[in-house]
Symmetry: C2
Subunit: 348 residues, 2 copies
């Protein structure tokens, strides 16, 4: 492969001039630049990123590290995000370095990768409420952006997140407007920040109308069909079962629907079902009947902003300014309806 020096030699120039010409420095002669660019193209010259990194401290490599078991379970649609990210990063001449760890010590792979000194920054996913990675990276001044938010209030790092609280509040209000007084929450794993946010928003919305939710109707587990199935079966066996289910994912809603069917029940007649929909194309495995009412916010929408934020951070943008929260759309379909079951659960 051709090097800077090859071009310089061929043109009787110095490598420095060629470098300047190719990097758009203003002082180079227009004719010289043209000659250089022409030859570079002709020789199919590509700058050696390794050499560039050695001198510039940049590699164009962005790391993404996952907990192998948990994340795959927590987020079956993870592939979607990686795909979108790698595409947008490529537009900024960056690449995604992927690593999964079975280790319980989530920081270990970060230490390893940072030690190798070849990454420009990290993209964090699925933060827990008090995520150790954030403090660790911040202490060291390592650039990162977060898909999600670890906590409430003003945060000092860049993130892209959906308005989970808003979505849950809207969904809960919808159900209550339909007359529901007993709503079960089938949430994601408790350690994730989004699950906490959703839980407290739910309880707050209920409390705002004087309604309480016994803890046995507040379940936390992975975003899987099975989770919804089990939670709903248990809830329906209660002497005073919920008349509505608020699910953290459409997969969970699938499970809830299956439980209803198993018990000879039907949505929305016997119970309403509403879910959050990440809109992952290949996840329409089970066609919902009836069509599912959802709060919808395509996961894919997060990719470009996250990649752009990474790029901005690396170019010195103020991290605290790179924060995006998007609203989920409430899409009314057939799985929600009015109820006559208006006895609230007792306030304990």
């Amino acid at each position: 492969l051709a090097t800077l020096k090859d071009i310089a030699d061929a043109l009787g120039l110095s490598p420095a001039t060629v470098s300047r010409a190719l990097n758009g420095f203003p002082e180079v002669n227009a004719r010289t630049r043209a000659r250089v660019e022409a030859l570079a193209r002709q020789m199919n010259y590509r700058p050696n990123q390794i050499a560039q990194k050695l001198v510039s401290g940049r590699s164009g490599m962005i790391g993404m590290i996952l907990r192998s078991a948990q994340d795959a379970a927590a987020d079956p649609s993870f592939f979607e995000v990686m795909t979108g990210l790698s595409q947008r990063l490529a537009e900024h001449e960056m690449d995604l370095v992927f690593h999964a760890t079975p280790s319980s010590d989530l920081l270990a792979p970060y230490r390893r990768m940072v030690a190798k000194n070849i990454l420009d920054g990290f993209i964090l996913n699925a933060p827990t409420f008090d995520d150790p990675r954030i403090g660790w990276l911040t202490e060291r001044g390592l650039p990162f952006v977060v898909h999600g938010r670890a906590g409430d209030g003003p945060l000092p790092y860049p993130y892209y997140d959906i308005d989970n609280a808003g979505a849950v509040t809207e969904a809960t209000n919808l159900l209550m407007d339909l007359g529901h007084r007993r709503i079960a929450l089938v949430n994601g794993p408790a350690e994730y920040a989004y699950a906490r946010t959703r839980l407290s928003a739910f309880l707050k919305a209920m409390a705002a109308r004087g309604l309480a939710v016994p803890s046995r109707f507040l379940t936390h587990d992975r975003l899987a069909e099975e989770t919804g199935y089990r939670a709903a079966l248990a809830a329906l066996a209660d002497p005073l079962p919920p008349s509505a289910f608020l699910c953290a994912s459409t997969l969970i809603a699938d499970g809830v629907m299956r439980a209803l069917t198993d018990r000879g029940l039907q949505a929305p007649r016997d119970a309403s079902v509403i879910a959050h929909d990440d809109a992952v194309p290949q996840m329409r495995s089970v066609s919902h009947a009836p069509a599912l009412t959802v709060t919808r916010s395509p996961l894919r929408d997060a990719c470009a902003p996250l990649a752009d934020m990474m790029h901005a951070v690396l170019n010195g943008a103020d991290p605290a300014r790179l924060q995006t929260v998007v609203t989920a759309d409430l899409i009314l379909r057939a799985s929600t309806g009015p109820t006559l079951e208006q006895t609230p659960w007792p306030l304990t």
Copy 2:
């Protein structure tokens, strides 16, 4: 972060000696080596891989490029492979660079990545029968290993594959031994090499007992539940429907089972179902009732060998010697049984 020179200065040695000490060169004085190693540890020294790459021509980065839409659809369990690969690669001090492309020109991202000149090699997945990537990489002398095989017979590159032909033959023979004469094949997308191999092995096994299969019972589509559902519904509507289904994945088998249920049928009484099982943990979404008879070969088993092969290739091993084919286990469970429906399809 500490550099070689820092250590050298602190010890009054030259960087060269420190480098030799750390890299286990035999000529260094044992005492010197001990001092160097001690200080290196103490200063938390890590070699700068960028600098190493610049001089050695190696980056430790291995590329993996996917067709975003197709692969995700074709192989919902892809995440499993990436996870395992990144873990084993890490043991060889290598990292996985991931890229997904929406482009129809699959070679484009390879060109881009090769041009950047930071990858040591590639891991290819899901080869098509006459995969253009293989020729392209071979021409350029770029190291790669393949998960799967593009074609039959002796191949000149390293690969890890399961014995698809053997698995299909065994499954088909099992069904025929149980009396089945009309077997439908619900295969993966026709362009993939494995699908071709499975198809021809199936037809050959059937033909060996004088049986033919009308093409309407040989379907090709993505490895999804929906695929099995639709294929089975169509097949069951036939005047002379199959008495058994040979499925390319358990997801497809799920769909076949659902179709049977919808039609008021039951396996194995009304039709036998057998599938190939990649044994991806998080894919046990639908619990199979009855338990599914499968040919089983955990996808995860491919990861370590592929990473090891990559390592070997980069260290000059003969590519043609790095070829592994593993046999799938036939696991007899409850979804297969004898049939009385022994009228074969007519030989056309």
